[in-house]
């Protein structure tokens, strides 16, 4: 039996209320330990909902989610999250934000200081330890969020469109950074995005999700060699995969008239 990091069985998510929203339906998914998985889909397809369920921020309406064979009941540092908005505490310095997790867990400073320093350097923020988040650019804030998540030593790293709010250049820079870090650590990553290039560049496996109610439409293995870098974006292999995914996504987006927003 393979070493599964995440097992999702028959998961449904319905948001109640006067107008119930069926966000996810029949999600069956397994992610092998050490795999980098990207979830790709149109906005509103429930990608983030799925991530929130794995993180333990929300509960599934039906079905179950296991992370390393433990049923998810609450958030925890074994499943660190990098949010789209960096979600840093604005009154803490960069350093205090990075070490916030270990401090909450009352670890002795010796247990995390070296690693924290290493991640601070890895994400290129040395010299900014004493700055406050609002003195940093969007990309730098997001790097603090990544360092903070890595320092939790998670078994699974959940990333919810972490580069979605960044400008194109910064996004490329961050993608390269993430590739470098990941290829050294090979930690299980679930990465939510609506950017096709980003998904192909980073992931081993790309899942395409359907429009609401969110379902998994297809699974595409990305067999591009590692270590990867941004040059890949210009290569024929890359573009071939890109076209394949694009055609599927287009079909998905065109099927949207179910939703109240009409696309021309």
């Amino acid at each position: 039996m393979p070493d599964y990091a995440i097992q999702i069985g028959k998961v449904e998510k319905v948001y109640g209320g006067k107008l119930p929203v069926h966000a996810l339906t029949g999600i069956d998914l397994t992610i092998v330990n050490g795999e980098f998985v990207a979830m790709l889909g149109p906005s509103g397809c429930g990608k983030s909902t799925l991530l929130n369920l794995i993180a333990g921020f929300e509960e599934p309406s039906a079905g179950e989610i296991r992370v390393f064979d433990q049923i998810v009941v609450a958030p925890g540092p074994d499943r660190a999250v990098v949010f789209q908005e960096p979600a840093l505490l604005p009154w803490l310095t960069v350093w205090d934000n990075i070490v916030f997790g270990p401090k909450l867990r009352h670890l002795a400073i010796g247990q995390y200081q070296d690693l924290a320093l290493e991640y601070l350097v890895t994400v290129g923020l040395e010299g900014f330890e004493r700055h406050l988040p609002d003195q940093l650019s969007g990309g730098m804030k997001q790097r603090v969020g990544i360092a903070r998540a890595l320092l939790a030593r998670p078994r699974v790293l959940l990333m919810d469109e972490p580069f979605g709010a960044l400008d194109a250049q910064t996004r490329l820079q961050m993608q390269q950074l993430l590739l470098d870090v990941w290829e050294r650590q090979r930690r299980t990553v679930m990465f939510i995005t609506h950017d096709i290039d980003e998904a192909i560049l980073l992931a081993d496996v790309v899942y395409i999700m359907t429009a609401r109610p969110g379902q998994l439409r297809s699974r595409i293995e990305i067999n591009l060699p590692r270590p990867r870098n941004l040059d890949l974006l210009m290569e024929d292999d890359f573009n071939q995969i890109r076209r394949e995914i694009f055609d599927q996504l287009r079909a998905e987006v065109l099927s949207l008239p179910k939703s109240p927003i009409r696309l021309k």
Binding site: G56, L104, D134
Partner: protein
């Protein structure tokens, strides 16, 4: 249009920049002082010209004179009951404000943040609080005198109650408004509910709490004056009413200005403290 000789000389000497800077710094000050100074001047002139009745509206110089005796005159002389008592009255009022306000903070901030954070606390306490809040603080006066008599604690409890409302309401609002992602981030890093409250909810609520504190100190000075008029026999509020009764309108005016100054000063102190704690918040507003 001809230019005054000194200015023309300066410009010729190549110092226009410095001149402009000097002008820029004096002009706002003039703009600020123009209105109050002209009102005072007109008031003074009208008084001296015999247009005003000294018994109803004494002019500034008379009020200043009255204030001087009130502040620095010898005490214990039967002729002027107010002579030399200004400081002790200021201290009486300030003490009551301080005690009542401190009490309001000690109860209002923890209670407000808890109401904002915890649904059970909110359900148990908030409706009662919102039900009592429309009762104006002045309507509590008879009740407070009946309960505490003409005694310090009557005034202090009224001040506490009056400033408690804005503090508790703003604290509640602040604690309710916490960014959901900060809560999620703390939970996923392994934070407990207790840590969430002290390390995330409370600091997040601080800007709103400070707003409540500023509104609260204003209410505290309002209430101390009302309470002292009725419920005690000392302080600026007591003197205000007493001076009116004996027709010392100069003292009334001096008293009003004193209250205004004290309110202004205590507000500045709170803003100063706020600036010290909320440096991070200022960064967000740029």
């Amino acid at each position: 249009m001809t230019m005054p000789a000194p200015i023309a000389n300066l410009m010729a000497a190549g110092a226009p920049a410095r001149l402009m800077a000097a002008r820029r710094s004096t002009r706002p000050l003039l703009q600020i002082l123009a209105l109050p100074l002209s009102v005072l001047a007109i008031w003074e002139i009208a008084g001296r010209a015999g247009l005003l009745s000294e018994a109803i509206l004494p002019w500034p110089s008379l009020a200043l004179e009255g204030w001087y005796t009130w502040a620095f005159g010898p005490t214990g002389i039967g002729l002027n009951a107010y002579s030399g008592t200004w400081l002790s009255n200021v201290i009486h009022s300030a003490q009551r404000v301080f005690l009542g306000y401190a009490l309001a903070i000690c109860v209002g901030v923890p209670l407000g943040t808890l109401i904002g954070w915890n649904q059970t606390v909110a359900r148990v306490i908030d409706p009662t609080l919102q039900g009592l809040r429309p009762v104006p603080i002045t309507a509590w006066l008879p009740f407070s005198i009946a309960l505490f008599g003409v005694h310090d604690f009557g005034a202090i409890s009224l001040i506490a109650l009056g400033s408690f409302y804005p503090i508790v309401v703003n604290s509640t609002h602040g604690a309710r408004d916490v960014n959901k992602n900060l809560i999620r981030a703390t939970l996923m890093l392994g934070g407990t509910r207790r840590q969430l409250f002290f390390r995330v909810v409370f600091p997040s609520a601080l800007p709103a709490i400070c707003t409540g504190l500023r509104v609260g100190i204003g209410v505290a000075w309002t209430v101390v004056i009302v309470a002292e008029m009725v419920a005690v026999k000392s302080g600026l509020g007591y003197v205000l009413w007493d001076a009116y009764y004996v027709g010392r309108m100069d003292i009334v005016i001096a008293d009003m200005v004193s209250i205004g100054l004290l309110g202004f000063l205590s507000d500045r102190v709170i803003i100063m403290i706020e600036g010290q704690i909320l440096g991070w918040k200022k960064l967000q507003q740029v």
